[in-house]
């Protein structure tokens, strides 16, 4: 997508979406929309480390939850405004991404992946034992009654998440077109060769984990205000980890567009499914789709579309 087109669509979406909240009265749309947009951020974040760099993160829930709990802790302690909470959450998650990466990125990709699982387990245990944020029983957040410009707080959160989603995609797109992105792609294709070509593989991998982690934390920061009740079981839920992997792999991992398509498609499907079928069946479908796509369509939907378009061009 040419730069101008991209930014035009981006601005249109954000402005249109924000103004549109006044036009639409159906709150369900905003509740569901928030979740889908949240997954756009999570899927995009995961893909920066997964699709762009080739390192699998199984613990996306950990980074998401760190963002959520940082917001809770700082809200309780200092009553900071939401934008400040978001920045703090991003910083906290980014730091954790950096730390995990520093400890494990010198090893094979599989050990990094397992460490992310380890991280999720350890962090969840820490939070369960941390009474200040409610421990295992969780904590309540009271969102404000009145909000500037919007009819209610959900619409404000929706617009906020819309802005964050567009920003996340813009960052991903910037990465793919930058020198860093080319270096990450080289690492993904053949890390040893990349190192021998002068690519500082460890440094770039650390940048990738930090950005990815920070983005996931940012996605998690508004979550407590959205659900109003947060407990470790819901924040650290495997559901986030699976979706963060399934959406980019189904959408397509090599471009910034894949996670967006995967999140919009799978996210909307799940929102529809939660009202029609059981939540377990919903989860089962995610797992089955992930496995099916990984086996049958490894390039994802974007890959399928490319092959289709290439085929037509030859005719």
């Amino acid at each position: 997508m040419r730069g101008l087109w991209f930014w035009a669509v981006a601005v249109l979406l954000v402005v249109g979406g924000t103004l549109g909240t006044r036009a639409l009265d159906n709150d369900f749309f905003f509740y569901a929309g928030y979740v889908v947009l949240q997954f756009v951020v999570l899927a995009t974040a995961w893909n920066i480390l997964g699709g762009f760099t080739g390192y699998v993160n199984f613990g996306s829930a950990a980074f998401f939850a760190v963002g959520a709990y940082t917001a809770i802790a700082l809200d309780k302690a200092l009553s900071l405004p939401l934008p400040a909470l978001i920045l703090a959450a991003g910083a906290a998650s980014g730091l954790i991404g950096l730390g995990t990466g520093y400890l494990t990125l010198r090893l094979r990709g599989i050990f990094f992946a397992i460490s992310t699982l380890a991280l999720a387990v350890v962090l969840e245990t820490l939070v369960i034992n941390w009474d200040y944020v409610g421990g295992a029983t969780g904590s309540y957040i009271i969102p404000p009654d009145e909000v500037f410009f919007f009819d209610n707080f959900v619409e404000a959160l929706f617009s906020l998440m819309l802005l964050l989603a567009v920003a996340a995609v813009a960052v991903a797109r910037w990465i793919t077109r930058s020198r860093i992105g080319r270096g990450l792609a080289a690492i993904r294709d053949d890390e040893l060769a990349a190192e021998c070509m002068g690519v500082p593989t460890l440094k770039l991998k650390l940048i990738s984990t930090t950005i990815s982690g920070a983005m996931m934390g940012i996605a998690g920061a508004p979550y407590p205000f959205y659900v109003t009740y947060v407990d470790p079981a819901s924040a650290f839920n495997l559901f986030y980890a699976v979706n963060a992997i399934a959406m980019p792999m189904i959408g397509g991992t090599t471009s910034w567009l894949g996670p967006v398509i995967g999140a919009l498609l799978l996210g909307s499907l799940q929102q529809w499914a939660t009202v029609s079928i059981s939540s377990e069946l919903n989860l089962l479908l995610v797992g089955v789709m992930l496995v099916a796509f990984v086996i049958l369509a490894p390039q994802g939907i974007v890959g399928l579309a490319r092959r289709f378009l290439d085929g037509r061009r030859r005719l």
Binding site: R179, G183, A185, A186, R188, D189, A193, M197, V199, P200
Partner: protein, 238 residues
């Protein structure tokens, strides 16, 4: 003779209980063409892995242009001027040939001009500019070998290590690669050539080093090496 561009002093490398390199000492002068030969498993690839930084060595020092690079990361050594090609080509399969060459140019080539133009120029010297936009995963064997060399050259090295670039190629293709390496050397780049194709190594090298079972067993002019009984014994066995 001026100071050597590369000095390997007493390089040792062990894998568990297996000694792959045992206090190997090799020197390369600026602009020199050095052949590195030895039977399979003698440690040639391990040695260049240690020189390029892909493997840490267990003992010894590596000096490049007078600087001790023994503990320096691989990517920094490439930026200092050591480049290598891989025995089994390792192209970046999601990228085009041009993009493959652009990576080392951007990250190690130290050039000031337009990356795409410089990359095309390098491909032109290899006779590959027609393939610039082809996907790197779709190349033939000789094209892959040439891409390996093109990428190594894009790093603008002072020392190029070619690891069996001609293995498995036809007679004409071997000559093609030989020509490329000669041209590269004419530009002032020192070259270490690892090969099993004897006629190529002997024609190409000014000096030959022979490894066997991790040790250097002979060193000298090509003719001397060819008539060296120790070398013959190493290849043919007792």
């Amino acid at each position: 003779m001026s100071r050597p561009i590369l000095e390997c002093q007493g390089i040792s490398k062990r894998f568990g209980g297996f000694t792959a390199l045992d206090t190997v000492a090799v020197e390369v002068a600026e602009g020199e063409r050095l052949g590195l030969i030895g039977p399979n498993g003698s440690g040639k690839t391990t040695l260049i892995n240690c020189i390029s930084g892909a493997l840490p060595c267990d003992g010894g020092r590596i000096l490049f242009q007078g600087e001790d690079v023994t503990r320096i990361a691989g990517y920094r050594r490439t930026r200092l001027g050591i480049a290598r090609s891989f025995q089994i080509p390792k192209p970046f399969r999601s990228m085009s040939v041009l993009e493959n060459v652009a990576i080392p140019l951007e990250y190690a080539g130290r050039g000031g001009g337009d990356v795409a133009d410089e990359a095309r120029e390098i491909l032109r010297t290899m006779g590959m500019d027609g393939l610039a936009d082809s996907n790197a995963g779709s190349l033939t064997q000789i094209e892959l070998r040439k891409l390996e060399l093109a990428r190594a050259m894009a790093a603008r090295p002072a020392l190029l290590i070619s690891d069996e670039a001609m293995a498995g190629l036809s007679g004409n293709e071997v000559d093609e690669i030989l020509d490329i390496l000669m041209r590269v050397n004419a530009g002032g780049v020192a070259i270490i050539m690892i090969e099993h194709i004897m006629r190529a190594v002997m024609r190409f090298s000014e000096r030959v080093v022979v490894l066997d079972a991790g040790r250097k067993i002979a060193e000298g002019a090509p003719e001397a090496i060819q008539s060296n009984p120790d070398v013959e014994r190493a290849y043919l066995g007792e």
